[in-house]
Symmetry: C2
Amino acid sequence: MKLTVKLMDIGTREVLLHTEDAGNIGVMPGDRVQILNEGSGVTVAAFVDTTTSLLPKGTIGIYRITNERLQVTDGSAVEVRRAERPVTLDFIRKKMDGEHLSKEETYAIIRDVVEDNLSAAELTAYITACYINEMDMDEVEHLTRAMVDTGERLRFHTHPIVDKHSIGGVPGNKISLLVVPIIAASGLKIPKTSSRAITGAGGTADLMEVLAPVNFTAAEVQQMTEKVGGAIVWGGATNIAPADDKIIIQEYPFRIDARGQMLASVMAKKFAVGADLAVIDIPVGTHAKVKTVQDGRRLAREFIELGDRLKIQVECAITYGDSPVGRAIGPKLEVIEALRILEGAESPGSLLQKSVSIAGMALEMSGKAARWKGAEMAAEIVKKGDALKKLRQIIEIQGGDPNVKSDDIEPGKHQFVVNAPATGYVIELNNKALISLARTAGAPHDKGAGLLLHAKKGNRVEKGEPIFTIFAERSWRLQKAIEEGRQLMPVLVEGMLLDRVPQDTRWT
Amino acid sequence: MKLTVKLMDIGTREVLLHTEDAGNIGVMPGDRVQILNEGSGVTVAAFVDTTTSLLPKGTIGIYRITNERLQVTDGSAVEVRRAERPVTLDFIRKKMDGEHLSKEETYAIIRDVVEDNLSAAELTAYITACYINEMDMDEVEHLTRAMVDTGERLRFHTHPIVDKHSIGGVPGNKISLLVVPIIAASGLKIPKTSSRAITGAGGTADLMEVLAPVNFTAAEVQQMTEKVGGAIVWGGATNIAPADDKIIIQEYPFRIDARGQMLASVMAKKFAVGADLAVIDIPVGTHAKVKTVQDGRRLAREFIELGDRLKIQVECAITYGDSPVGRAIGPKLEVIEALRILEGAESPGSLLQKSVSIAGMALEMSGKAARWKGAEMAAEIVKKGDALKKLRQIIEIQGGDPNVKSDDIEPGKHQFVVNAPATGYVIELNNKALISLARTAGAPHDKGAGLLLHAKKGNRVEKGEPIFTIFAERSWRLQKAIEEGRQLMPVLVEGMLLDRVPQDTRWT
């Protein structure tokens, strides 16, 4: 059917049809049509929305994402037909039925994911099926390679290339801001792509953005890394393993992180940046993604096996994941904390310790440091100020201010100090509650929002002593966070009243 | 955040936000916002689309389905916030993790389904999880009751109320057009809600619509049934078990019909119309939904058990499902065939036979006929013309022409006769290929489109003798169907050339 184009700036892969035209084409809302740009010969499939009044009969509303490849202009004519059902739906069905997918089938699905040929619901069915009917290592390898092959890759001429990854879920895990400059300062190359927070209070990309732009193409990342040894960028802008972001977004409503997809997600990015060796940080704890050391070891073995298949040397660090890393949560607060360590501060020791341990593993794997001497070497690099100097170079090459100091960065000006309601030991820091509170205060969108912990697990606090401060950029967000804090009680002090019936007057 | 309303006639549960407003609210495309109509106090959650140019900052595009409950007007102000994550996502996650859902959890999910609080992707995750981690009978019962309780119900004062259902997948299964009037003519009441074809060539509702309107409220169905003993309406308009339609639409891309959902779907509708007894027709065959008699028996036992729990007396008929029922496929062709039988024709015998068997079971269950005498009684009702008279009453009360005769109905005028390419026996009729061909010819949207089989399985045909005719309302559809028929070869004659290399000249 021939229809006249009306471009519509809506950011989805859809078209809007008059209900009668949809009936004539034989499609219902949610079905697919095939649209032919007769000038260029390009054909694009898109999902159908319908209207009876927003468009006259004979026209088709083309949404923005649909037109990215279609490239038609307002008023031009397109041929619109009912689209064939993608064959990948049969492959997804196979996985639903508990069968294993072949390499070709996985590649076909991932190509359709990258090209937005599958609806959110169809992709969710694939993810759910893979979550329930776990992928075997062959399928994970195929998925990893498919994710790599459908995106950009970096190709370095010198080796080894280093990479690191921390499994998420632990608030305040800003170690990349320390590990990357340490590694680069040692003379190794580390092109670090990182994520923005989806469920967290700040991903490494959100943090780095406080210091410099983070949106670069894959080629730019390679150039910057070749020049200064490292870069810390947002992976989403590089088009490296683009399928992964699309999968993660669909996992998000269910808070799942399917084992096979997680392995593929992490390793696809290492593989695509050309990493020869990678350190994977696996935080373990009741409130972390991985609950027990045993589970952590199992996951580590799988990372190592997948690395073997991809010819990437992998070592894993099982780390303590039941409390935040350091004391700061939220982009600016975390950057301040990381910069202070690089500037010579010795606290929080846990942050420095974790960073040099992870960096040290890479130094050892690369041969830069002798076995068991990596952490020492990393600490030395920090102590001499080389890591700070390297971070400044990275900031500069990414277009930030290389002279930035921790004191220059100002967290949110709306603050609220939460005091200990009783004297005693801090017996719990609840990761999920801390993240939720930081998000309510505005993180990661409001870079100055977040939390600063004054006491950590095991510390003794006196009644009335500050236990943490909430920071916000907007006063209404601070108010909401204060209210939420009352409910969630993310920091528990031994002997503290958990509730008071009938009336709750704590904190006010 | 306060935004100004711009109503947009797009048929989904979404809103359109300027990208900057979305950032300030803290939502991304696909996230949910909560919208408050400050005048009425009504709050509605909707999914976010974003734009940078279609709307100015400070405005919100409210799509049609979103406004069905919100009821705001163009230019009014609404308060928009990031919505809470529905708790039902945790229940869906539970099912993904292989746990059983409680009655309360299932009810909460189904309420969210009916109120469109779950996105298509979220609902798909639920369906996929239930497909892989099969529901036990408790869960199926809860699902059935939840579907009933979230929709309309009929409440009759006389009993018994009869219902029937055929598991789909067999083309040409127009038996409801015979069974309903037979039952009603016997003095029993049968308020039959039926479906439109989604993947088929014509559902009972599509067929009945050739004769009379089929869109009625639940109350109207009850009134009509009380007056003339029966009705044949489209279930989708009645708001009976509305969750079921929403679930079926999401199953459609994967061509799945999850066992638990199917049991619940069928029995919820029987329960909601107040049925005391129900006959379930389970067609079995390689090309049918149920592949073996053994599987059919197992399914029958589950229907009976679920019926027990709901206090509905259920009997199941395992029927032959490897060939079409009768010779006609497609709305008008099927109606002509059914009317002819009621008008006294004795062919196709298979259609008459199946219809009186199913109707007879209900007559026996209700006590109208003695054991093993039901089919005889049903055949007598047809023979005396009582069933035709009853169907005319049903047509009349639904607003159609009660004097309609089979000869008045004209199938598509574009026709193509396919002749036997060789002499031999018809060895296969492929259900899926026949349905696909009928759909390509235009069924069910074009009511006159479809197929008429001149030979059935086991018949001997001479070379050049017609084996089936394709009917279409539009010549281009006929052409497409002819092309597709060449590929699919839905009717195989023994000794027939299946392919000819290098050049295929059959049929042209």
